[in-house]
Each structure stands twice: as C-alpha cells, then as structure tokens.
C-alpha cells in the first residue's frame, strides 16, 4: 500500500518486524484511539486496518487471512485488506492506515486514510 501524500513523514512509527506477524495472519497495534490490525498475506504483503468489523465491531485481527481478504471471526463478513471494503453484497468498511515495509521493518502511520467513517 502506498503512503498518502497528505501523511506527514514524521508520523511513521516502527511497530515491529514483518517476521513478527505470522504469514496469513495479523497482529494488533494498540493505540489510545483504538486497535489497528496489521496483516501479512501469504506473499508477504502488509496491510493495516482499523481492527473493527463494520458489521458488529468484531476484531478483524483475529480472523482467517486468505488472498487479500480477512474473514471476521464473529459473523464471517469478508473484508478486502487492500481497500478496507466489505466484500459484496455486504456493505461497509474498515479504515485503512498507511503502512510500508523498509528493511524488514513495518512502518505504520496512525492517521487513517480518508474515505471510511469507521476509522
């Protein structure tokens, strides 16, 4: 995922190594504004979403990760990791957070990207 131009470069926070996140899994970054789920896919892509399913608030970080999707553990909604959008016909989103990988380290911005109210 690319950084959004608006993001202040100073706001990148190193949250850990890619290797700290299981493949096809996720870890949580706990902030005062709520949890952010950081996902790692089979081919080592890293995504970050608000850890809150648009349906009933389930923790997306606890779901099964497959392809570029995660299945919410509470009621099986599927959320696309790259867009944060629920897979149709369900409707809703989880806000994306800019995240990038540098030298095996995961850098995260705590400022959600715009476009999703579930931030």
């Amino acid at each position: 995922m690319q950084a959004v131009t608006k993001t202040n470069t100073n706001s990148w926070i190193e949250v850990g190594a890619v290797a700290d996140i299981p493949k096809q899994g996720a870890r949580v970054v706990r902030t005062k504004d709520g949890d952010i789920a950081v996902f790692r896919t089979l081919d080592d892509e890293v995504f970050a979403l608000r850890d809150r399913c648009p349906h009933k608030g389930g923790q997306l970080s606890q779901g099964i990760v497959y392809g570029n999707k995660v299945a919410c553990p509470l009621h099986d909604w599927k959320i696309s990791l790259d867009t944060g959008m629920a897979v149709a016909p369900d409707e809703g989103c989880a806000a994306r957070f800019p995240v990038r990988v540098e030298g095996g380290k995961v850098l995260l911005s705590l400022i959600p990207e715009e476009g999703c109210l579930n931030a």
């Binding site: 970054v29 099964i64 299945a71």
Partner: protein, 812 residues
C-alpha cells in the same frame, strides 16, 4: 487486443454465461450478443404470471438495456443469426449484420413442437414459448372467447390457466389418459384434474388431434374420434425441442441437441453451447437450474480457467398455477427394485408419494401439501439412507423433532410478510421475498449472500428454498450433483479426502497444487477443512497449520462478542472435588473473572478473560492440575455422567467411572465438528445420553451404546448401535466409531446429519458386525491420540505462540 466473443441467443442461459464470464474475466472479451426477440434478456419462466396478469413484462426483465451498455456489450435485438462461417469465424444475421468471433457461444434455446397436422399454420395457432406468444394470447383473449390448449403438461396447464384468467373458455386436449404424466402419477393427476375442473377448465383426455380447422383463422379442432371443439385460439404445448437448426446448418455435430462435452464445448473447439439447445451425456434440459450450472462451467472455460466440469443435474418441478401446490422430483415411475410409500387424503386434497430404491429416495410426488418438497429433494440429492426415517418420512421434516422450526402451520406461502424465517439473523419473509425480486436471485447461495437468511445454523434452509420456489414460480431447483468444498475448488469433500490418502498429499500446498485449487491459499472455508483432513490422514506427521484455524482453535479459547474469551477447564466426567473447586475459586478471584457459569456439559466456565491474560490464567490452572476442556473446538467436548450405582438407588452400573475413562481416552482429539458424550447409569437417562454424539445407557445386563444424537438447533435422538457387556468393550466401540467419523464425515458435519447421510447400517457394519474393522479403527484412533493428548494450555502457559497473546506494539 481483446478476443471476440459472439453469443447467439439473448436468453437466460446465454446471458447467464456472459454474467459468469464477466465475474471471472471482465476484460477478456469484446462481447456481441444476437437475439431474435426484440427484448432484452427476461425471465422466461415467469411468462405464466405475465399471462395471468399477476406480473408486468417489465417486472420479469433480468438485464435491461443499460446493463448491456454498462458492460460494453454490443446487443443486436431482433436479429436472427442465419449463418455461421466456421472457417472464417464470422456469423451473419438475417438483416445482413455480421460479427467476427474468436469464440462462439450458442444459446439458441428451444422451440415449441408443433404437431404436423393440417391447419397448423392457420392464424391463431401458436406455441407458448416467448413474450410474443403471450402477447398473442392476451390479444386473442380480448377479441375471442374459445381457446383450446393442446397438451396437458406443465406448460399447457399454465397457458390454459392464464387464458382462463383472461376470461376465455378453455379446453385442454391431452393425448395420454392423465395430466402431466411425466411429473405425476395417476392419483395425483386425478386430484389435479379435479381441482382445475372446479376452477372452470375443461379436459379431453386421450384426445388425439387430427386437424385444425378454419379458413382465414382457426375455428376449431377436430379429434380422431370425430369430435369437434370450437376454438378461436389454439395453443400448442405438446413439448419443446432443442433449436439446433443453425448448428446443423453450419455442420456442428447434433443429435437431439447440439452435442457438448463436460466443458460445454461442441465438436468445434471454438464453439461452445449452453442451455436448452444442448445435449449433454445424452440428456437435454428444460429447467433453469441446470442451465445455470452449464453457464457457470462454460464461463470458466471461456475465461481460460479450464477446471470446471458439468456432470449433469437432477431436477424438480413445481406447477405455477396460483393456489395449486404440486411438486415432483426424480424418477417416481417405480419398478421391480423400488418401493413406494404413499399418504393420501382425498377429502383434504392431499397426496404424497415417495419412491425408494435401496432405502434412498429416487423420486417424489406431492399434491396439496408441498411443504417438504425441498427436504425430499435434498435427501434425494444427497443419497441419504432413509431407513430410520421411513415411518415418519411422509409426515414431513416437522415431525422429526425439529425444535421451533418447520412447524407445518408455518407454511411459507400463507405466512405474513413479518414472519421471521431466519431466527439466527432475524430475517423476515417480506425481506427475503423483496430481495429475491429486487436483486433477481435464483439460488439459495444468492439469498444467503444478500439476506443472511439460512447462512448461520441452516435450520431454515427448507423454508428459504420454499420461498424461492414460491417467489420464482416453478422451475426453481438446486441441482449440482456434487457439492464442492467451497468456491476455491470443484472437488467435493469426499474427493479431497480420497486424494489426500491415495496420492499421499501431506501438506496444504500439495493439495492446492495437485487438485488445481483456483486460489493461491484457499479461503476461510477450505483451509480449516483441509487442515483437519490432513491431520486425520497423517497423524504425527502433518504439522498443524495454526493460520488455517478459526480464532477459537488458534488460541484455545472461545471468543465472545466483546472480544474477550471464555476459559473452560476439563472436569473429567463432570466429577470434581472440594480441592479443585477451591483452586478454581482462587483463580477466578485472582483474575477478577467477571462471570462464572456452569455449562450444560457439567463444566465451569470463566467468562470475560482478556486475551493477554489467557496464558497466565492457564498457567495457574495447569499448576492446579487442570487441562484444556476444548470447549472452543471442533473436538471432544465433554463426557457428562450421572452418579450411577455408587449412590443412586436406581443405578445399574458405575456410569461415572466409565464416563471418566471415556474422557481420558478421547480428550484432545480433533473431530469434524464438536463431539459430546454422556454415560447414564440407568434408562432414566439423567445424563441425557440419547442426545449426544456417543451415549451410553447402562442397564442391568450391561451397556447400551447409542450414536448420532444432537441437542442443538435440531434435536435428534440417538440411534441404538448395540449393547456390550463391559466398559472395556464400550470404549473400543467408542474409539472405532469416533475414528470412522473422523475419517469419513465432512468437515463441519455433526454425527447426526452424518449418520443420516451414510446410514446406520453402514456404521453398524464398520463398528459392530466386522470385529476386525472395529479393532483396526480403534487402533488408528489410539495411535492418533498419542500425538493429540498434549495440553495446549500448558504449552502456551510456557510461552508457545506468544505472538498470539500480546500486541505487536503499544503506542502512546
């Protein structure tokens, strides 16, 4: 440059194939569609309600002009393709329009069969096939009075009913001696005829049409016995035949229909065909569900995925005449090898017949009360052994002890819109019907995706299927002969398990590769299933894939709605001590457990534990001698017992000790779904052993073993397996039963539906009659237990999977 796809036929099958193709490969083709009719694609099966005036044409349009535009599809409405040049790959329409193709899809449908009698070409003689026919009928109904419908099959009766509703006096002429002889047997056909006569239709059975008479327009029909019937309109509904004129002309191999293989390809590899024009494995189809199956397979190949296969369909029928409930499915003609079960109440206008072969449903006919049609159809499709249901079969699913659902009073058609259909997700009838209509849904899966109805516990599936049938009208049916594990594959559960064993597939990537999975790493449906299958097939060898497990099994605790977890330690056989209780009390206080609850399985449940706290609390439980109760897993849950003869004045055996021994033997094992046991000390059955997956009821002479019970959504009492003399024997039978279940059931299939699906006699044969088979199965179970009886809580308290329990980082 994009390849060019030309579709000949703008009907339900052709456009469905295009829709499926757009889902898979939206940008692969430049698509051109030719349709003879001057309309966009509409739902042909709903022409009957248009004829009766219950629906407008605009309501049955499936894809409007905007849809074609939106997908950049060139649509030639009202242009009939008359020529295909397969060498140059160009098609030509009657008006001279041409289009070049790289791939061609034939979906020319069918045409009504017109009897070759004199007068067949007179004005006023029509078929019942497309909207033009409906318009002709509606026009005739305005100007004329007498109609004759030739053909008393499904289509003929719907036409007759519609014309009558439009005010015409209608006579149906039918050659056989009973109506709908392909779908009904004699008694149900008689009941149908009687009720249609009461509505005002007239019938001439065994009526053989000799000539249609008239000068400028049809005036009547003369039969071979000399009778003459007045008619201003004659509708020929004696059958349809595949429309293969164009295919034949261009030299494609045809028999009754255009012959295709399992990939819907014709003898010309650049030409595919789907729908009613097709002949597949000798069969032609005229119902919607098979056509949709074909469309899906065809799209898969057009998208160059190259993995799907069409293997035929079984179908069911329902007559779309408002107020008449009629259902038939499969082959009910009977024969030497078959048995019939019949329930008839002519006074109440109710008739049901189920035809069995080897205790499996081969066909069913229902009249008056079709509530259970979907259920019979499912039993038939799944090849379920119904030996144990036979005495109740005709009374319907509601009589099987279904808790709360399926009450006969809750017949879907009569229900108010506000009636709740799906209790799990709170979905009402009105919502489902509206969604089916608005979103143009055809299948159960689509209804599940859009409304969530029937997507949780599944107990309302029959009701939802009935609603689909009632809303769509007749031809709704679900058809694939086998069910794939999930959309990632075409293979069924059984095929996958077989391949894992026979081809020595020992890792998940090996399964994906060998069985040509469509996705790189599966999905949340197939991965847990494969993980389980591999674990059972290769005990001690396969390394459990944590990331393929649902959260509860991954962290060995039950996630709650607020994101906290519940912790339930094992209490062997439900028997505890003051010391254990004191330890539990101290741990609960130490961690300030918000709620302590006693479960239905005689365990103590700590609720509201934060994830980070889990390893610590488990460590303390471990020190106090507790192990995981596996209350979170598709695993051995609990063995519930009563106090037995040690205390109870009625007790016949030491049920508590046997329960504890069973639990020590079985704990830690992963199973296709949760597995519960119980041992009752006497037939009063205080431990409720007869609603468990494996239950023991002690009697004076020994131990009765019961299997396949379930106390959940749908209560099912166990089947009696056998009686044994001593606890040791009972344990061996239990191990063998468990292992056969572990090795052969589908993932997420509880013992109750599994026993119903494969039949008790098979289980008896494997576990009771064949001592050698029992011994071997039990040994395989004991062997697998060597690797699974490791307490997951103790391991995690020691630091295993630490990353699961702590945040990656705390910020601010």
């Amino acid at each position: 440059m994009k390849e060019k796809l030309v579709v000949i036929g703008n009907g339900m099958a052709g456009i469905r194939a295009v829709e499926e193709l757009l889902k898979l490969a939206p940008d692969k083709y430049e698509i051109t569609v030719f349709g003879s009719e001057p309309h966009p694609n509409y739902n042909r099966i709903l022409l009957s309600p248009v004829l009766t005036g219950e629906k407008q044409f605009s309501e049955i349009v499936l894809n409007d002009d905007a849809w074609y535009a939106e997908h950049d599809i060139t649509l030639h409405k009202g242009k009939t393709v008359v020529d295909i040049d397969r060498r140059k790959r160009v098609v030509k329409a009657a008006d001279g329009t041409t289009a070049a193709y790289d791939r061609l899809l034939l979906a020319t449908g069918s045409i009504p069969f017109i009897l070759p009698v004199p007068g067949k070409d007179l004005p006023g003689v029509i078929g019942f096939r497309d909207f033009a026919d409906v318009e002709a009928m509606l026009m005739a109904a305005m100007d004329y009075r007498h109609a004759v419908v030739i053909g008393g099959g499904l289509l003929g009766l719907e036409a007759a009913n519609g014309l009558m509703k439009q005010g015409m006096k209608v006579t149906v002429v039918h050659l056989p001696d009973a109506l709908m002889e392909r779908q009904l047997d004699a008694p149900s056909a008689r009941m149908l005829k009687k009720s249609l006569e009461e509505r005002g239709l007239e019938f001439v059975l065994q009526g053989d049409t000799e000539e249609i008479i008239g000068k400028k327009r049809v005036q009547g029909v003369r039969l071979k016995d000399g009778r003459e019937l007045t008619a201003d309109l004659v509708v020929m509904a004696v059958g349809i035949r595949p429309n293969i004129e164009l295919a034949k002309k261009t030299g494609l191999y045809c028999e009754r229909g255009v012959v295709v293989n399992d990939t819907m390809q014709t003898y010309d590899p650049a030409v595919y065909a789907v729908g009613e024009c097709v002949q597949h494995r000798g069969q032609t189809y005229g119902l919607v569900a098979p056509l949709f199956d074909q469309a899906k397979v065809c799209a898969n190949h057009l998208a160059h995925f190259g993995i799907a296969r069409y293997e035929g369909s079984i179908t069911s029928t329902k007559l779309k005449v408002t107020g008449i409930d009629l259902f038939s499915a499969g082959d009910f003609s009977g024969g030497d090898q078959t048995e019939e079960i019949v329930l008839q109440d002519a006074g109440a206008g109710m008739y049901k017949k189920v035809v069995l072969k080897d205790n499996r449903i081969q066909g069913a006919v229902m009249y008056g009360d079709t509530m259970d049609g979907a259920w019979y159809f499912q039993l038939m499709r799944d090849g379920t052994d119904v030996s144990n249901l036979r005495d109740k079969l005709l009374f319907g699913q509601a009589h099987l002890g279904d808790a709360g659902h399926g009450d006969i009073k809750t017949r879907v058609v009569a229900m108010a819109d506000s009636t709740e259909i799906c209790g799990c997700n709170g979905v009402c009838k009105g919502t489902i019907v509206k969604t089916i209509v608005d979103k143009k849904l055809f299948t159960l899966e689509e209804v599940r995706a859009h409304t969530k109805a029937s997507s949780s516990c599944g107990s309302c599936t029959g009701l939802v299927e009935n609603l689909l049938a009632a809303t769509l009208g007749g031809d709704y049916s679900t058809a694939p002969k086998k069910k794939p594990v999930c959309p990632c594959t075409e293979h069924s559960h059984d095929e996958v398990r077989l391949a894992i064993r026979n081809q020595s597939l020992k890792t998940m990537p090996a399964v994906f590769k060998t069985l040509e999975w469509k996705t790189p790493d599966g999905c949340n449906k197939c991965r847990p299933a494969l993980n389980f299958y591999l674990l059972v097939a290769w005990p001690g060898e396969y390394v459990d894939d944590n990331q393929a497990r649902f959260i509860n099994e991954r962290v060995h605790a039950n996630i709650q709605k607020d994101g906290t977890y519940s912790v339930i330690p094992r209490i062997w056989g439900g028997e505890t001590t003051p010391g254990e209780l004191r330890a539990l009390a101290e741990i609960a206080e130490k961690y300030e457990v918000p709620t302590v609850h006693i479960t239905g399985g005689q365990r103590i449940d700590f609720l509201g534990i934060k994830k980070e706290t889990l390893p610590a609390i488990w460590g303390d439980l471990s020190k106090a001698g507790f192990v995981s109760g596996h209350a979170y897993g598709k695993a051995i849950r609990t063995v519930k017992t009563c106090v037995g003869k040690n205390w109870c004045r009625f007790g016949t055996q030491d049920s508590t000790t046997m329960g504890i021994e069973l639990e020590k033997m079985t704990w830690g094992s992963w199973t296709p779904h949760k597995f519960k046991l119980a041992v009752s000390g006497c037939p009063r059955n205080c431990a409720e052993a007869t609603i468990k997956d494996f239950g023991v009821v002690c009697v004076d002479s020994g131990y009765e073993l019961h299997v396949g019970g379930n106390g959940g959504v749908k209560v099912r009492a166990t089947d009696f397996l056998c009686a044994v003399k001593n606890p040791e024997e009972g344990k061996e039978y239990c191990a063998a039963f468990l292992q056969v279940y572990r090795e052969e059931a589908h993932y997420l299939e509880r013992t109750a539906p599994w026993v119903e699906r494969i039949g008790l006699s098979y289980i008896k044969q494997r576990v009771v009659e064949d001592a050698e088979s029992r011994k071997l199965a039990a040994e395989r179970f004991y062997n697998s237990q060597r690797f699974s009886q490791v307490d997951p809580w103790a391991e995690r308290a020691m630091g295993m999977d630490k990353h699961e329990f702590i945040p990656l980082k705390l910020v601010g």
